[in-house]
Amino acid sequence: MDLVSQYGPALLRGFGITVICWILGTIFGMALGLVIALIQRYAPRPVRWLIQIYIEVIRGTPFLVQLFVLYYGGPLIGLRLDALPAGLLGLTIYGSPYFAEIFRSGFRAVAHGQIEAARAIGMTEPTIIRRILLPLGLVSALPALVNFSIILTKETVILSIITVPELMYQVSRMSAETFRYVEANLVLALFFWALVETISRLGRRLEARITQHLIERT
Protein backbone atom coordinates (compact mmCIF):
# COMPACT_ATOMS: atom_id res chain seq x y z
CA MET A 1 0.00 0.00 0.00
CA ASP A 2 2.75 2.43 0.85
CA LEU A 3 4.18 1.62 -2.57
CA VAL A 4 1.29 3.69 -3.90
CA SER A 5 1.91 6.58 -1.55
CA GLN A 6 5.64 6.37 -2.17
CA TYR A 7 5.67 6.12 -5.96
CA GLY A 8 2.15 7.17 -6.95
CA PRO A 9 2.85 10.90 -7.23
CA ALA A 10 6.05 10.34 -9.23
CA LEU A 11 4.29 7.93 -11.59
CA LEU A 12 1.44 10.39 -12.09
CA ARG A 13 3.89 13.20 -12.73
CA GLY A 14 5.72 10.92 -15.15
CA PHE A 15 2.47 10.18 -16.94
CA GLY A 16 1.75 13.91 -17.14
CA ILE A 17 5.12 14.51 -18.75
CA THR A 18 4.54 11.62 -21.16
CA VAL A 19 1.24 13.15 -22.22
CA ILE A 20 2.79 16.59 -22.64
CA CYS A 21 5.68 15.15 -24.65
CA TRP A 22 3.25 13.26 -26.81
CA ILE A 23 0.95 16.24 -27.41
CA LEU A 24 3.73 18.69 -28.19
CA GLY A 25 5.75 16.15 -30.18
CA THR A 26 2.66 15.35 -32.25
CA ILE A 27 1.74 18.99 -32.85
CA PHE A 28 5.27 20.05 -33.80
CA GLY A 29 5.91 16.88 -35.80
CA MET A 30 2.67 17.38 -37.72
CA ALA A 31 3.45 21.02 -38.36
CA LEU A 32 6.91 20.20 -39.67
CA GLY A 33 5.50 17.30 -41.67
CA LEU A 34 2.91 19.60 -43.23
CA VAL A 35 5.55 22.12 -44.22
CA ILE A 36 7.65 19.33 -45.74
CA ALA A 37 4.67 17.97 -47.67
CA LEU A 38 3.87 21.41 -49.06
CA ILE A 39 7.50 21.99 -50.03
CA GLN A 40 7.54 18.64 -51.78
CA ARG A 41 4.43 19.55 -53.70
CA TYR A 42 5.45 23.03 -54.81
CA ALA A 43 9.21 23.54 -54.53
CA PRO A 44 11.62 23.20 -57.47
CA ARG A 45 13.28 19.85 -57.98
CA PRO A 46 16.66 20.41 -56.20
CA VAL A 47 14.84 21.45 -53.02
CA ARG A 48 12.64 18.39 -53.26
CA TRP A 49 15.72 16.17 -53.54
CA LEU A 50 17.22 17.67 -50.38
CA ILE A 51 13.96 17.10 -48.53
CA GLN A 52 13.83 13.54 -49.83
CA ILE A 53 17.31 12.88 -48.41
CA TYR A 54 16.16 14.23 -45.03
CA ILE A 55 13.15 11.92 -45.15
CA GLU A 56 15.25 8.86 -46.02
CA VAL A 57 17.83 9.56 -43.31
CA ILE A 58 15.29 10.11 -40.55
CA ARG A 59 13.17 7.15 -41.52
CA GLY A 60 16.23 4.97 -41.95
CA THR A 61 17.60 5.43 -38.44
CA PRO A 62 16.19 4.31 -35.07
CA PHE A 63 14.73 7.01 -32.86
CA LEU A 64 17.13 5.96 -30.11
CA VAL A 65 20.12 6.79 -32.29
CA GLN A 66 18.65 10.13 -33.36
CA LEU A 67 18.08 11.07 -29.75
CA PHE A 68 21.62 10.13 -28.75
CA VAL A 69 23.08 12.14 -31.57
CA LEU A 70 20.92 15.13 -30.71
CA TYR A 71 21.49 15.07 -26.95
CA TYR A 72 25.09 13.92 -26.68
CA GLY A 73 26.33 14.99 -30.09
CA GLY A 74 24.48 18.31 -30.15
CA PRO A 75 26.84 20.09 -27.73
CA LEU A 76 29.74 19.34 -30.09
CA ILE A 77 28.17 21.69 -32.62
CA GLY A 78 27.00 24.12 -29.97
CA LEU A 79 23.48 22.77 -29.61
CA ARG A 80 23.19 22.40 -25.85
CA LEU A 81 19.67 21.43 -24.83
CA ASP A 82 18.11 20.25 -21.58
CA ALA A 83 16.66 16.78 -21.60
CA LEU A 84 13.03 17.84 -22.09
CA PRO A 85 13.55 20.27 -24.99
CA ALA A 86 15.97 17.82 -26.58
CA GLY A 87 13.35 15.10 -26.25
CA LEU A 88 10.66 17.28 -27.81
CA LEU A 89 12.92 18.33 -30.66
CA GLY A 90 13.84 14.68 -31.17
CA LEU A 91 10.19 13.59 -31.31
CA THR A 92 9.39 16.41 -33.71
CA ILE A 93 12.18 15.46 -36.09
CA TYR A 94 11.50 11.75 -35.79
CA GLY A 95 7.79 12.11 -36.55
CA SER A 96 8.06 14.71 -39.31
CA PRO A 97 8.85 12.47 -42.31
CA TYR A 98 6.05 10.07 -41.43
CA PHE A 99 3.60 12.94 -41.04
CA ALA A 100 4.90 14.43 -44.29
CA GLU A 101 4.18 11.19 -46.15
CA ILE A 102 0.70 11.04 -44.64
CA PHE A 103 -0.06 14.60 -45.74
CA ARG A 104 1.40 13.94 -49.16
CA SER A 105 -0.90 11.03 -49.80
CA GLY A 106 -3.77 13.04 -48.31
CA PHE A 107 -3.13 15.78 -50.87
CA ARG A 108 -2.92 13.23 -53.65
CA ALA A 109 -6.35 11.97 -52.69
CA VAL A 110 -7.88 15.39 -53.41
CA ALA A 111 -9.53 15.15 -56.83
CA HIS A 112 -7.56 17.16 -59.34
CA GLY A 113 -10.81 18.51 -60.77
CA GLN A 114 -11.56 20.34 -57.53
CA ILE A 115 -8.23 22.14 -57.78
CA GLU A 116 -8.86 22.92 -61.45
CA ALA A 117 -12.30 24.30 -60.66
CA ALA A 118 -10.62 26.74 -58.27
CA ARG A 119 -8.00 27.69 -60.85
CA ALA A 120 -10.67 28.19 -63.48
CA ILE A 121 -12.40 30.88 -61.42
CA GLY A 122 -9.09 32.63 -60.89
CA MET A 123 -8.11 31.66 -57.35
CA THR A 124 -4.48 32.14 -56.39
CA GLU A 125 -2.42 29.08 -55.47
CA PRO A 126 -2.08 30.06 -51.79
CA THR A 127 -5.86 30.48 -51.56
CA ILE A 128 -6.35 27.12 -53.27
CA ILE A 129 -4.03 25.50 -50.72
CA ARG A 130 -5.79 27.12 -47.80
CA ARG A 131 -9.39 26.74 -48.92
CA ILE A 132 -9.40 23.52 -50.96
CA LEU A 133 -6.24 21.41 -50.71
CA LEU A 134 -5.70 21.61 -46.95
CA PRO A 135 -9.24 20.96 -45.73
CA LEU A 136 -9.87 18.13 -48.18
CA GLY A 137 -6.38 16.66 -47.82
CA LEU A 138 -6.68 16.71 -44.05
CA VAL A 139 -9.93 14.80 -44.18
CA SER A 140 -8.31 12.06 -46.26
CA ALA A 141 -5.26 12.03 -44.03
CA LEU A 142 -7.07 12.00 -40.70
CA PRO A 143 -7.22 8.23 -40.02
CA ALA A 144 -3.52 7.83 -40.81
CA LEU A 145 -2.66 10.91 -38.73
CA VAL A 146 -4.47 9.48 -35.72
CA ASN A 147 -2.83 6.13 -36.29
CA PHE A 148 0.67 7.53 -36.43
CA SER A 149 0.13 9.77 -33.42
CA ILE A 150 -0.82 6.62 -31.51
CA ILE A 151 2.44 5.03 -32.60
CA LEU A 152 4.22 8.16 -31.36
CA THR A 153 2.84 7.70 -27.82
CA LYS A 154 5.00 4.63 -27.50
CA GLU A 155 8.11 6.31 -28.83
CA THR A 156 7.98 8.70 -25.87
CA VAL A 157 9.35 5.95 -23.59
CA ILE A 158 12.68 6.27 -25.36
CA LEU A 159 13.01 9.79 -23.94
CA SER A 160 13.80 8.13 -20.60
CA ILE A 161 17.28 7.27 -21.80
CA ILE A 162 18.19 10.95 -21.99
CA THR A 163 16.65 11.34 -18.51
CA VAL A 164 13.40 13.04 -19.42
CA PRO A 165 11.39 12.24 -16.28
CA GLU A 166 8.43 10.75 -18.12
CA LEU A 167 6.49 7.63 -17.18
CA MET A 168 9.06 5.07 -18.36
CA TYR A 169 11.74 6.88 -16.44
CA GLN A 170 9.70 6.75 -13.22
CA VAL A 171 8.75 3.13 -13.80
CA SER A 172 12.41 2.17 -14.26
CA ARG A 173 13.35 4.02 -11.11
CA MET A 174 10.62 2.27 -9.13
CA SER A 175 11.69 -1.12 -10.51
CA ALA A 176 15.31 -0.53 -9.67
CA GLU A 177 14.58 0.67 -6.15
CA THR A 178 11.94 -1.88 -5.15
CA PHE A 179 12.46 -4.82 -7.52
CA ARG A 180 8.68 -4.74 -8.08
CA TYR A 181 9.07 -5.18 -11.84
CA VAL A 182 5.62 -6.68 -12.41
CA GLU A 183 3.70 -3.95 -10.61
CA ALA A 184 5.79 -1.20 -12.17
CA ASN A 185 5.31 -2.45 -15.69
CA LEU A 186 1.63 -3.09 -15.07
CA VAL A 187 1.29 0.60 -14.22
CA LEU A 188 3.12 1.45 -17.44
CA ALA A 189 0.82 -0.76 -19.49
CA LEU A 190 -2.33 0.60 -17.83
CA PHE A 191 -1.40 4.22 -18.39
CA PHE A 192 -0.53 3.62 -22.03
CA TRP A 193 -3.66 1.65 -22.61
CA ALA A 194 -5.73 4.54 -21.21
CA LEU A 195 -3.88 7.07 -23.34
CA VAL A 196 -4.11 5.11 -26.59
CA GLU A 197 -7.76 4.28 -26.02
CA THR A 198 -8.58 7.93 -25.38
CA ILE A 199 -6.76 9.09 -28.50
CA SER A 200 -8.38 6.55 -30.78
CA ARG A 201 -11.84 7.36 -29.42
CA LEU A 202 -11.30 11.08 -29.91
CA GLY A 203 -9.92 10.36 -33.37
CA ARG A 204 -12.98 8.38 -34.38
CA ARG A 205 -15.30 11.07 -33.07
CA LEU A 206 -13.40 13.78 -34.91
CA GLU A 207 -13.48 11.73 -38.10
CA ALA A 208 -17.22 11.17 -37.84
CA ARG A 209 -17.74 14.89 -37.28
CA ILE A 210 -15.75 16.18 -40.20
CA THR A 211 -16.87 13.58 -42.70
CA GLN A 212 -20.59 13.86 -41.91
CA HIS A 213 -21.18 16.21 -44.86
CA LEU A 214 -18.87 14.40 -47.24
CA ILE A 215 -20.51 11.01 -47.35
CA GLU A 216 -23.35 10.46 -49.73
CA ARG A 217 -26.50 9.35 -47.98
CA THR A 218 -27.62 6.11 -49.57
Partner: protein
Protein backbone atom coordinates in the same frame (compact mmCIF):
# COMPACT_ATOMS: atom_id res chain seq x y z
CA UNK B 1 -24.77 41.15 -70.73
CA UNK B 2 -21.33 41.61 -72.20
CA UNK B 3 -20.35 38.64 -74.31
CA UNK B 4 -16.86 37.67 -75.41
CA UNK B 5 -15.69 36.37 -78.72
CA UNK B 6 -12.92 33.81 -79.11
CA UNK B 7 -10.57 33.51 -82.04
CA UNK B 8 -8.59 30.28 -82.24
CA UNK B 9 -5.98 30.08 -84.95
CA UNK B 10 -3.43 27.44 -85.90
CA UNK B 11 -3.45 25.95 -82.39
CA UNK B 12 -1.25 22.90 -81.83
CA UNK B 13 -0.97 20.85 -78.69
CA UNK B 14 1.32 17.93 -77.94
CA UNK B 15 1.20 15.46 -75.08
CA UNK B 16 4.79 14.30 -75.29
CA UNK B 17 5.07 12.93 -78.82
CA UNK B 18 1.29 12.70 -79.21
CA UNK B 19 -0.18 15.40 -81.45
CA UNK B 20 -3.49 16.16 -79.72
CA UNK B 21 -4.50 19.34 -81.59
CA UNK B 22 -3.45 19.88 -85.19
CA UNK B 23 -3.55 23.43 -86.55
CA UNK B 24 -6.99 24.06 -85.13
CA UNK B 25 -8.83 27.16 -86.38
CA UNK B 26 -12.17 28.14 -84.87
CA UNK B 27 -13.99 31.41 -84.61
CA UNK B 28 -16.47 31.72 -81.77
CA UNK B 29 -18.82 34.68 -82.21
CA UNK B 30 -20.08 36.67 -79.22
CA UNK B 31 -23.42 35.77 -77.72
CA UNK B 32 -23.68 32.56 -79.69
CA UNK B 33 -23.62 28.87 -78.76
CA UNK B 34 -20.89 26.78 -80.34
CA UNK B 35 -21.10 23.02 -79.87
CA UNK B 36 -18.04 20.80 -80.22
CA UNK B 37 -18.81 17.24 -81.24
CA UNK B 38 -16.75 14.27 -82.36
CA UNK B 39 -15.59 10.84 -81.27
CA UNK B 40 -14.09 10.32 -77.85
CA UNK B 41 -10.37 11.11 -77.81
CA UNK B 42 -10.63 13.53 -80.73
CA UNK B 43 -9.37 16.48 -78.69
CA UNK B 44 -12.60 18.29 -77.78
CA UNK B 45 -11.76 18.66 -74.09
CA UNK B 46 -8.20 19.61 -74.90
CA UNK B 47 -9.35 22.39 -77.22
CA UNK B 48 -11.91 23.64 -74.70
CA UNK B 49 -9.32 23.66 -71.93
CA UNK B 50 -6.89 25.59 -74.10
CA UNK B 51 -9.42 28.44 -74.18
CA UNK B 52 -9.00 29.12 -70.44
CA UNK B 53 -5.45 27.84 -70.47
CA UNK B 54 -6.07 24.93 -68.10
CA UNK B 55 -4.19 23.19 -70.90
CA UNK B 56 -1.20 25.02 -72.36
CA UNK B 57 -1.21 25.02 -76.15
CA UNK B 58 2.20 24.79 -77.78
CA UNK B 59 1.76 27.02 -80.80
CA UNK B 60 -0.87 29.14 -82.48
CA UNK B 61 -3.13 31.64 -80.79
CA UNK B 62 -6.21 31.72 -78.63
CA UNK B 63 -7.57 35.26 -78.43
CA UNK B 64 -10.43 36.26 -76.18
CA UNK B 65 -11.81 39.63 -77.27
CA UNK B 66 -8.58 40.10 -79.13
CA UNK B 67 -6.38 39.44 -76.08
CA UNK B 68 -3.91 36.58 -76.39
CA UNK B 69 -4.65 33.89 -73.78
CA UNK B 70 -1.83 32.43 -71.72
CA UNK B 71 1.10 34.13 -73.43
CA UNK B 72 2.52 37.65 -73.52
CA UNK B 73 4.18 36.80 -76.80
CA UNK B 74 4.65 33.51 -78.62
CA UNK B 75 6.57 31.18 -76.30
CA UNK B 76 6.53 33.60 -73.36
CA UNK B 77 3.92 32.66 -70.76
CA UNK B 78 2.02 35.45 -69.06
CA UNK B 79 2.26 36.02 -65.31
CA UNK B 80 -0.02 34.12 -62.98
CA UNK B 81 -1.69 37.37 -62.07
CA UNK B 82 -2.53 38.25 -65.65
CA UNK B 83 -3.73 34.71 -66.31
CA UNK B 84 -6.07 34.84 -63.31
CA UNK B 85 -7.32 38.21 -64.48
CA UNK B 86 -8.21 36.77 -67.88
CA UNK B 87 -9.76 33.66 -66.39
CA UNK B 88 -12.18 35.76 -64.35
CA UNK B 89 -14.16 36.44 -67.49
CA UNK B 90 -14.40 32.76 -68.40
CA UNK B 91 -16.66 30.33 -66.54
CA UNK B 92 -16.15 26.60 -66.77
CA UNK B 93 -18.42 23.65 -66.09
CA UNK B 94 -16.91 20.17 -65.86
CA UNK B 95 -18.23 16.72 -66.61
CA UNK B 96 -17.61 15.64 -63.00
CA UNK B 97 -19.10 18.87 -61.52
CA UNK B 98 -16.01 19.37 -59.34
CA UNK B 99 -17.89 21.03 -56.53
CA UNK B 100 -15.97 21.43 -53.29
CA UNK B 101 -17.48 18.74 -51.09
CA UNK B 102 -16.67 20.42 -47.77
CA UNK B 103 -18.77 23.48 -48.63
CA UNK B 104 -22.52 23.92 -48.91
CA UNK B 105 -24.09 24.86 -52.25
CA UNK B 106 -24.15 28.49 -51.11
CA UNK B 107 -20.52 28.40 -49.98
CA UNK B 108 -19.46 26.80 -53.25
CA UNK B 109 -21.01 29.67 -55.18
CA UNK B 110 -19.94 32.42 -52.78
CA UNK B 111 -16.33 31.22 -52.50
CA UNK B 112 -15.10 32.78 -55.72
CA UNK B 113 -16.96 36.02 -55.06
CA UNK B 114 -15.24 36.32 -51.68
CA UNK B 115 -11.75 35.04 -52.50
CA UNK B 116 -11.38 36.20 -56.09
CA UNK B 117 -13.68 39.18 -56.44
CA UNK B 118 -13.07 40.30 -52.86
CA UNK B 119 -16.74 40.93 -52.04
CA UNK B 120 -17.79 41.07 -48.40
CA UNK B 121 -19.36 37.83 -47.21
CA UNK B 122 -22.89 39.18 -46.93
CA UNK B 123 -22.93 40.58 -50.45
CA UNK B 124 -21.29 37.44 -51.84
CA UNK B 125 -23.95 35.29 -50.21
CA UNK B 126 -26.73 37.49 -51.51
CA UNK B 127 -25.37 37.15 -55.05
CA UNK B 128 -24.78 33.43 -54.58
CA UNK B 129 -28.40 33.04 -53.49
CA UNK B 130 -29.52 34.86 -56.65
CA UNK B 131 -27.38 32.60 -58.82
CA UNK B 132 -28.77 29.50 -57.12
CA UNK B 133 -32.30 30.79 -57.56
CA UNK B 134 -31.58 31.25 -61.25
CA UNK B 135 -30.70 27.56 -61.62
CA UNK B 136 -33.77 26.56 -59.61
CA UNK B 137 -32.03 25.66 -56.37
CA UNK B 138 -33.18 28.40 -54.02
CA UNK B 139 -34.27 25.73 -51.54
CA UNK B 140 -31.00 23.81 -51.55
CA UNK B 141 -28.54 26.54 -50.57
CA UNK B 142 -27.62 24.83 -47.29
CA UNK B 143 -27.00 21.37 -48.77
CA UNK B 144 -23.55 19.92 -49.14
CA UNK B 145 -22.87 18.32 -52.56
CA UNK B 146 -23.20 14.83 -51.07
CA UNK B 147 -26.84 15.69 -50.31
CA UNK B 148 -27.64 16.75 -53.88
CA UNK B 149 -28.50 14.72 -56.96
CA UNK B 150 -26.12 14.79 -59.91
CA UNK B 151 -28.36 17.19 -61.79
CA UNK B 152 -28.55 19.50 -58.80
CA UNK B 153 -24.78 19.36 -58.33
CA UNK B 154 -24.22 20.33 -61.93
CA UNK B 155 -26.66 23.22 -61.58
CA UNK B 156 -24.75 24.42 -58.50
CA UNK B 157 -21.59 24.22 -60.61
CA UNK B 158 -23.25 26.38 -63.27
CA UNK B 159 -24.38 28.83 -60.58
CA UNK B 160 -20.82 28.94 -59.26
CA UNK B 161 -19.60 29.91 -62.71
CA UNK B 162 -22.29 32.48 -63.57
CA UNK B 163 -22.08 34.16 -60.16
CA UNK B 164 -18.66 35.40 -61.27
CA UNK B 165 -20.41 37.21 -64.14
CA UNK B 166 -18.34 35.71 -66.95
CA UNK B 167 -18.56 36.87 -70.54
CA UNK B 168 -17.89 33.38 -71.83
CA UNK B 169 -18.87 29.94 -70.57
CA UNK B 170 -17.14 26.65 -71.33
CA UNK B 171 -18.95 23.35 -70.80
CA UNK B 172 -17.14 20.02 -70.99
CA UNK B 173 -19.76 17.29 -71.43
CA UNK B 174 -21.91 18.78 -68.67
CA UNK B 175 -24.51 16.02 -68.82
CA UNK B 176 -22.39 12.95 -69.53
CA UNK B 177 -22.08 11.93 -65.89
CA UNK B 178 -25.81 12.25 -65.25
CA UNK B 179 -28.58 9.69 -65.12
CA UNK B 180 -30.74 10.16 -68.24
CA UNK B 181 -33.71 11.55 -66.31
CA UNK B 182 -31.53 14.35 -64.88
CA UNK B 183 -30.09 15.55 -68.18
CA UNK B 184 -33.08 17.74 -69.03
CA UNK B 185 -32.88 20.00 -65.97
CA UNK B 186 -29.26 20.86 -66.74
CA UNK B 187 -29.88 21.43 -70.46
CA UNK B 188 -32.78 23.72 -69.58
CA UNK B 189 -30.55 25.92 -67.44
CA UNK B 190 -28.07 26.05 -70.31
CA UNK B 191 -30.81 27.00 -72.77
CA UNK B 192 -31.86 29.88 -70.53
CA UNK B 193 -28.28 31.05 -70.37
CA UNK B 194 -28.01 30.85 -74.15
CA UNK B 195 -31.20 32.84 -74.62
CA UNK B 196 -29.74 35.61 -72.46
CA UNK B 197 -26.94 36.05 -74.95
CA UNK B 198 -24.05 34.32 -73.19
CA UNK B 199 -21.20 33.17 -75.40
CA UNK B 200 -21.09 29.42 -74.85
CA UNK B 201 -18.75 26.69 -76.02
CA UNK B 202 -20.22 23.28 -75.29
CA UNK B 203 -18.55 19.92 -75.73
CA UNK B 204 -21.44 17.51 -75.86
CA UNK B 205 -22.79 14.16 -76.97
CA UNK B 206 -26.34 15.53 -76.72
CA UNK B 207 -27.00 15.84 -80.43
CA UNK B 208 -30.52 17.09 -79.74
CA UNK B 209 -29.12 20.03 -77.79
CA UNK B 210 -26.55 20.72 -80.50
CA UNK B 211 -29.19 20.57 -83.21
CA UNK B 212 -31.69 22.85 -81.48
CA UNK B 213 -29.66 25.27 -79.40
CA UNK B 214 -26.33 25.65 -81.16
CA UNK B 215 -25.70 28.49 -83.57
CA UNK B 216 -22.77 26.60 -85.00
CA UNK B 217 -21.43 23.08 -84.62
CA UNK B 218 -17.78 22.12 -84.93
CA UNK B 219 -16.79 18.54 -85.63
CA UNK B 220 -13.42 17.20 -84.48
CA UNK B 221 -11.60 13.98 -85.23
CA UNK B 222 -8.07 12.85 -84.35
CA UNK B 223 -7.02 16.31 -83.23
CA UNK B 224 -8.28 18.01 -86.36
CA UNK B 225 -11.15 20.41 -86.60
CA UNK B 226 -12.83 18.85 -89.60
CA UNK B 227 -15.71 21.24 -90.16
CA UNK B 228 -17.69 24.12 -88.69
CA UNK B 229 -21.19 24.67 -89.92
CA UNK B 230 -24.75 25.41 -88.90
CA UNK B 231 -26.45 22.53 -87.06
CA UNK B 232 -28.53 22.08 -90.18
CA UNK B 233 -25.41 21.72 -92.28
CA UNK B 234 -23.60 19.32 -89.94
CA UNK B 235 -26.54 17.07 -89.14
CA UNK B 236 -28.40 17.04 -92.43
CA UNK B 237 -25.87 17.80 -95.12
CA UNK B 238 -22.46 16.81 -93.78
CA UNK B 239 -19.76 17.70 -96.26
CA UNK B 240 -17.19 15.30 -94.89
CA UNK B 241 -17.38 11.53 -94.82
CA UNK B 242 -15.97 11.43 -91.28
CA UNK B 243 -18.96 13.41 -89.96
CA UNK B 244 -21.32 11.15 -91.79
CA UNK B 245 -19.68 8.06 -90.26
CA UNK B 246 -19.75 9.56 -86.78
CA UNK B 247 -23.42 10.40 -87.03
CA UNK B 248 -24.27 6.99 -88.40
CA UNK B 249 -22.55 5.30 -85.46
CA UNK B 250 -24.33 7.68 -83.10
CA UNK B 251 -27.73 6.92 -84.61
CA UNK B 252 -27.12 3.17 -84.57
CA UNK B 253 -26.14 3.29 -80.93
CA UNK B 254 -29.18 5.32 -79.99
CA UNK B 255 -31.70 3.44 -82.08
CA UNK B 256 -34.01 0.95 -80.43
Amino acid sequence: MQASSVEISKVNKFYGPFHALKDVDLSIPPGKVTCLIGPSGSGKSTLLRCINFLEEYDSGEVRIDGKLMGYDAPGRKMSGKKLRQMRRGVGMVFQQFNLWPHMTALQNVAEGLIRVRGLPKSEAEARATDALRKVGLADKTGNHPARLSGGQQQRVAIARAIAMEPQLMLFDEPTSALDPELVGEVLNVMKTLASEGMTMVVVTHEMGFAAHVADQVAFMEKGELVAVDSPQGIFHAPKDERIWNFLRTYRERNAF
